[in-house]
Amino acid sequence: MLRLEKRPQPSRGWTYGAPVLAVFLTIVLGMGLFALLGKDPLVAIRTIFWDPIFGPFAHFYRPEIIKKAAPLVLIAVGLSFGFRAGIWNIGAEGQYIIGAICGAAVALAFYPMDARWLIFPLMIAAGVLGGFLWAMIPALLRVRFNTNEILVSLMLVYVADVLIKAFSIGVLRNPEGFGMPGSRNLRQYPSAANLDLIPNSGLHWGSLVALFAVIFAYILFTRHHFGFQVRLAGQSPRAARFAGINANRLVILCLGISGALAGVAGMFQVAGPSGQILGSFPSFYGFTAIIVAFLGRLHPVGILCAGLIMALTYIGGQAAEAQLNLPAAAILTFQGMLLFCLLAVDVLTNYRFRLGQGEAR
């Protein structure tokens, strides 16, 4: 009989090996899925995983992947602080939207002034502050009234969603837009636009900030006292209290960091790839980032890889839909399989399979 046995220590080998095995398993299972749909499995896998990076049109896909990954990584890195500490910010999507509204509002307030040195930094600050303050609502409610931050942050997503729709047809509407909903396109306002720093590279300021966030988080987790407190609070809350860690301060800091990063991600998105405040601006980045955070095992470098892989399956999946006539549902199923395999294989890090009779009660 096959059974699971807890390892005395997490396995180092499997910590790194498990994601590789998971991707391999997904490819095998996905090939089965595509074969059942009557497509050539090898071609399908190549279209999703290979062509966007190395194929003949890779120069078109690669920047798209980076642009898609940047907000995911930025938000997920922020979320990883709270998730490691056992503080569950499910409302990053809301903080992302509010950050976008604040950033765009600053830009539109200055339109058409020509002062990028002033406006762009102010927009960044507004995005950070907007997301931060939006996250402070669940944080302070939890600290003061012990409310559940999962519910509060999640419900504030719907509030933010309504707000952005209202702003897009209200005060932020483009006065020269012939009454159409939506703000001015920030991409066409040089002082505010967040365009590729090198044309067609996908590297805009948001991508760079995401990369900085990864490095910053890595240092914080491994070297800084705050990172230690976050890890301790998540692993052993009682030991954290004994170590003198102030749980309320941690709630505020963790929700604040994730809110600030989600907010600035929203600002970079609205000033760059999206361009304008519009009812359709929210695109579930804030929710997908939760998955990215866990796929990356709440480790900054892992999150970077997970964000890129997620983005790859989106871009590659779209390509497969278009080129191979695969139904959109098949692509979603395939992405689901990837997540499922990653989480399932994760068990090998802390457990091992044993043959034979069980001994645990």
């Binding site: 220590q9 052993s236 030991a239």
Partner: protein, 505 residues
């Protein structure tokens, strides 16, 4: 008449042989002790008999028939029952409901209550079936477990360290029950490392050391010292104390009161005592009488009015743990895994966890890992912690080793006042001796040590003064010299339900 015969039982785990060729017999109606240090293989042995572990080699015969239980259910069906050291009871449910949950085919509730009452009277175990378990003392909880076993009419009852949570009077009640059971033909396998008890209760004892049987004898014919040395395999030294004059008062607790932190906690009621430099004060009591709450209030996990606790004249009751550490007060709570130490973190991280304040291991917000590692290594070396490396996760260490590390971590910070709760709980004899010696050395060097312990022998051995904690109230502290077990028992408020049930009268 032999009930259970063990023949050459062997069980190996990766890297360690837990049992090696263990053979002995248990007769019907016999109370048979298995003695040994932690890690000697006692647990593995009883788990094999109870069907939790399958031995690699050897066989067992129950009443002459081969016996190889594949799981505890099979063992219970064959007539083997076990009372574990840690209870598996639900606080929010009644005694009868808890007992029904552990049975294969529980009878109807009223029938079960009648059975519980009958067993309770027959065996002199006072217990009311409709009480809520959360309100019971540790001794009463144990009775729930015992009655759960007795309702299955076992041929063999295994008791794993049953007295660690009992007052002396409760121990007497338990022993009365066990003797009655034995007289009625039930065999009892009694696991313990407390020698005095075994001499009182058992006619036969088997000593295990490093998985092997090193002796079988009648404990009534051996001295404690002989038995202890057989267990440990070397000569034991009693802890010795360099006498030091009682110094100035360091920690003054005055009228400390606090509400119970949770539903089944204990409120602290007007606790007052003074701890002097150079002394060891012992606080005894049965678990659940406010020990955890007192430690939390002293360590700073639970805040009180500032003036309730004063360290060298400064009110610290409202300060957090790190402020108190900075002022010289360190603490080691009872639960190692998840409270005193984070099980998934390395020893280096666990060393940093409480030592960073006093050793300045944080510089401009950044952790000084090299210095933390050096400190962890120093603790490991000084307190003989057996670990492959300081990077090993705390959960990979045995209980005794982790306890040495936790206590060593606090002592190595040179605290002015050290608070320890159950410093040698679940620790083998030689490690316990080392920990006790280290506590005495700390006091001799001029610090004040508060030892909260349920192990009364330990309290008598190392403390200068003793006070009893009972239902959140602390008695007056009295000099330990001249105290006897009986006096301590009375100070602890005696047994809960001291009157033994009617049937025995």
């Amino acid at each position: 008449m032999t009930l259970l015969e063990l023949q050459g039982l062997t069980k190996a785990y990766p890297g360690v042989i837990a049992n090696s060729d263990v053979s002995f017999d248990i007769h019907k109606g016999q109370i048979h002790a298995v003695l040994g240090e932690n890690g000697a293989g006692k647990s593995t042995l009883v788990k094999a008999i109870y069907g939790l572990v399958r031995p690699d080699q050897g066989k067992m015969l129950l009443e002459g028939v081969p016996f190889a239980p594949s799981d505890p259910r099979a063992a219970r069906a064959a007539g083997v029952a076990m009372v574990f050291q840690h209870f598996s009871l639900f606080d929010a449910m009644s005694v009868a409901e808890n007992i029904a949950l552990g049975m294969e085919n529980p009878p109807k509730p009223h029938a079960l209550e009648a059975q519980i009452r009958k067993a309770s009277e027959d065996y002199g175990l006072p217990l009311s079936p409709d009480r809520i378990v959360g309100d019971l003392s540790a001794g009463e909880r144990q009775r729930v477990e015992i009655i759960r076993c007795l309702l299955q009419n076992p041929k063999l009852l295994i008791m794993d360290e049953p007295t660690s949570v009992l007052t002396p009077q409760e121990v007497d009640i338990l022993f009365g029950t066990l003797r009655l059971l034995a007289a009625n033909g039930t065999s009892i396998l009694y696991i313990s490392h407390k020698l005095e008890e075994i001499r009182n209760l058992c006619q036969h004892a088997t000593v295990l050391r490093q998985g092997k049987v090193v002796g079988t004898f009648d404990p009534r014919e051996m001295s404690n010292r002989e038995m202890a040395e057989m267990m440990v395999g070397k000569d034991l030294n009693a802890p010795n104390r360099v006498p030091s004059p009682r110094g100035a008062p360091l920690l003054r607790v005055a009228g400390l009161s606090a509400p119970a932190p949770h539903q089944f906690g204990t409120a602290l009621k007007h606790i007052s005592f003074t701890l002097h430099a150079g002394e060891v004060l012992g606080i005894g009591g049965v678990a659940g009488n406010g020990q955890d709450e007192l430690v939390a209030a002293l360590s700073g996990e639970m805040r009180t009015d500032a003036d309730m606790i004063a360290l060298e004249g400064r009110g610290i009751g409202a300060d957090g743990p790190n402020t108190r550490r900075a002022l010289g007060l360190c603490a080691a709570p009872e639960e190692r895994n998840g409270h005193a130490a984070a099980p998934d973190m390395s020893l280096v991280e666990n060393a940093f966890m409480t030592a960073h304040t006093r050793l300045s291991l944080v510089e401009r917000g950044f952790v000084d890992w090299p210095a933390s590692r050096a400190f962890a290594q120093a603790v490991i070396a000084r307190f003989d912690v057996r670990t492959p490396s300081p990077e090993t996760a705390a959960r990979a260490l045995s209980g005794g080793n982790l306890q040495k590390f936790v206590i060593g971590r606090e002592i190595s910070q040179n605290p002015r006042v050290l608070i320890v709760n159950q410093p040698t709980w679940g620790v083998d004899a030689s490690a316990a001796a080392a920990i006790r010696q280290a506590l005495l050395d700390l006091a001799s060097a001029g610090s004040a040590v508060l030892v909260i312990s349920q192990d009364l022998e330990e309290v008598l051995e190392i403390t200068d003064r003793f006070a009893a904690l009972n239902e959140g109230k602390l008695s007056e502290a009295v000099p330990t010299a001249g105290l006897t077990m009986e006096k301590i028992g009375l100070m602890l408020g005696g047994a809960h339900d001291l009157e033994v049930a009617h049937a025995q009268a």
